[in-house]
Amino acid sequence: MVITNEEIMVSPGSSSPRRTVRRAGIATIALVAVLGLFTAACSSSKSSDSAKPSGPTKAAWIYVGPVNDGGWTQAHDNGRKEAATALGDNLISTYKENVPEGPETAQVIDDLVKDGNTVIFGTSYGFKDAMQAAAKKYPDVKFVQATGDDITVNGVSSVPSNYDEYWGAGEDTLYLTGIAAGKATKNNVIGVEAPFPIPEIIRQINGFALGAQSVNPDATVKVVWTKAWFDPAVERQAAESLVAAGADVIFSHQDSPTAGEVAKANNLPWLGYDSDQSAAYPSVWLTAATYDWGPYYTAKINSIRDGKWSQQNYYGTIGDQFTSIAPFGSLVSAETQSAIRAEQAKAAATKSFGWYWGLEDRMDQDGKVVITKGQTLSQKDLYTMSYFVMGIDGNPKG
């Protein structure tokens, strides 16, 4: 700051330089002690369900956020509770919340294995490397990683045999919510704020845009990157910039409902992601793509208990009811609702994902055909998608 080094070390007003230094030392020690306490308090572990002697499975979930975040982590924890209810005495479930994506992840996993957990679910992409390292270290424990992409992209031989990945086709439900957005826009400009330019988000925005174009061929989708999964102040600025640039429908692919505030202030319809915000924004809410993790967790633990472990690389679909959509707001007309429900039923009947990609020739932003009519996309095609389809106004490189 304004003070030079000498002034810090030898403050002329204080009795002696040494005393200042000693005080500084004490302050630092006290500070470190207090910080240690809080860090410990923040990543506390809570164990639910009591132990039963008749051979229950001990499974643990690792969360990147707090269980009451109203979004991603809460959805996983609801899934854990669903599994606990379904499995009853056969499951002892534990979770660790607010686990940082870094060296601490490995430590948390070590602790959970020492506690006797034989199944570990990692619920954030950033845990992937630590989960694979732990799988090598503990061959008797099963490690299951949400949103992991190594089995799909690099093949099952690239990961340990006691490691599996799971995720769901969110782009399919986003296609459905895109229909609501395409019907709602009057300027034909739909604003999207999205976290990072990675294949997961790119394919989801493509799905959303194709949904909007399926009912409104003139609709363009304007994308702004926030470079954050969760940062309410930034999310607000991004939403405001979209409104200022002429968007009259906002889709926020972010973890907080901040865009809803901007939508409410401007009286514009908006769509969220991964959580139902209809109660907080009744006048402007359209819908959102959501996930239900419970049935997967129940089935996965059951198959492990039955000795039927396999690296199935699960990709949940609308047919599985793994991906779904939140209740419609009052702005979605009955006609639009039934159109969306019809499309949803069609998707469920296919018992697969991505029924819409090959409905016609699809072009990228430069007009090059990237998907030909009748083509079906594999999970690997989806996991490596790096282009925006035509009609999206934004840079897929960020």
Binding site: S11, G13, A41, E261, N395
Partner: protein, 321 residues
């Protein structure tokens, strides 16, 4: 498109909106530094203010006209308490001001007390229903150019203008302001003419804390409807630089705050208009500007000439006169 959709108008309007918390925080730090006490705890005090006003706004039932002022007061009180701890350490115990301030920010900040309290109080992501909205002052918000910039802000922005005006008068036109400047320049001299140095310093550090509390409340009561750990995301550090940036004058600090406010949302405004700029670079600009200013004033002789209080950072002990 009307003239109010012009890029220039949009940037200026958002500069004021996002600069408002910086105005409060920098003004508070300015008062503290004018008394000779540097407080690096601004970020921590802001987060304390933000979490305490958020919990009141989220849990108190009643009309917004009653709940919001109470929430603001709760935020001010919490931040003032943080400032009082700093004041006790550096004024009474004469602990190094840099260390005490840093300790306050780390203790109360994103990895500390504010996040812990938010967790304990269950400030989840359900949006708070009580917020300071934009006011449309005198119904003039649609007036070309000046409407969105000056007449479509929140009550807190208008409060900040009032406080900046009062601070100007106080510092440069009143006897107390003169005394305050004397305490910051030469506490020995001030003491010798009977100005209560200790009382002045305590008073201004604590009032500075209250301002930081309002700055934090700007985030939890106007900018975002939901709690996020560390939601001020470094604004407290920018405020510290702004005091220097504004040469310890409230009016120039206000201008600096709006400059930083403009930079903070510029990258999105340009992205949404299809102007391809490296957003990471734009996001880094406020911090780059902070570093440049810090380098410029790191020369202590230059910083004196620019208005830095001569006794800034130095404890005062009467016996050593």
């Amino acid at each position: 498109m009307s003239v109010n959709d012009n890029l220039f108008v949009i940037i200026l309007a958002s500069a004021i909106f996002y600069g408002t918390p910086l105005v409060f925080a920098a003004l508070g730090e300015l008062l503290s530094e004018r008394s000779g006490v540097i407080n690096l705890g601004v970020e921590g005090m802001m987060l304390l203010g933000a979490v305490c006003s958020a919990v009141v706004a989220a849990n108190l039932d009643g009309p917004a006209a009653l709940v919001l002022p109470l929430a603001l007061l709760a935020g001010m009180a919490a931040a003032a308490l943080g400032a009082a701890i700093h004041a006790f350490l550096v004024i009474t115990l004469r602990v190094n001001q840099i260390i005490s301030g840093l300790a306050l920010t780390i203790f109360a900040g994103a990895a500390g007390l504010s996040s812990y309290l938010a967790n304990v109080w269950g400030l989840g992501r359900n949006p708070s229903l009580n917020q300071f909205g934009r006011m449309d002052l005198f119904g003039l918000k649609d007036v070309p150019v000046v409407g969105p910039i000056l007449f479509d802000q929140t009550l807190l922005t208008y409060l900040s203008w009032l406080l900046v005006g009062l601070a100007m008068v106080y510092l440069f036109r009143t006897r107390m302001g003169l005394h305050l400047r004397a305490v910051g320049e030469s506490p020995q001299t001030a003491d010798s003419v009977g100005i209560p140095v200790t009382r002045y310093r305590y008073g201004h550090v604590i009032v500075g804390g209250m301002f930081a509390g309002i700055a934090g409340a700007c985030y939890s009561l106007t900018i975002v409807p939901t709690w996020a750990n560390g939601l001020t995301s470094g604004a407290g550090w920018i405020a510290l630089a702004l005091v220097i940036f504004g040469f310890w004058r409230p009016d120039l600090t206000l201008v600096g705050a709006y400059l930083f406010g403009a930079l903070s949302s510029l990258s999105f405004t340009l992205q949404a208009r299809g102007i391809d700029v490296p957003s990471a670079l734009l996001n880094a600009l406020p911090y780059l500007a902070t570093i440049v200013v810090l380098v410029l004033v790191s020369n202590s002789r230059l910083s004196r000439r620019l208005g830095s209080p001569a006794a800034l950072g130095r404890p005062y002990e009467r016996e050593e006169r």
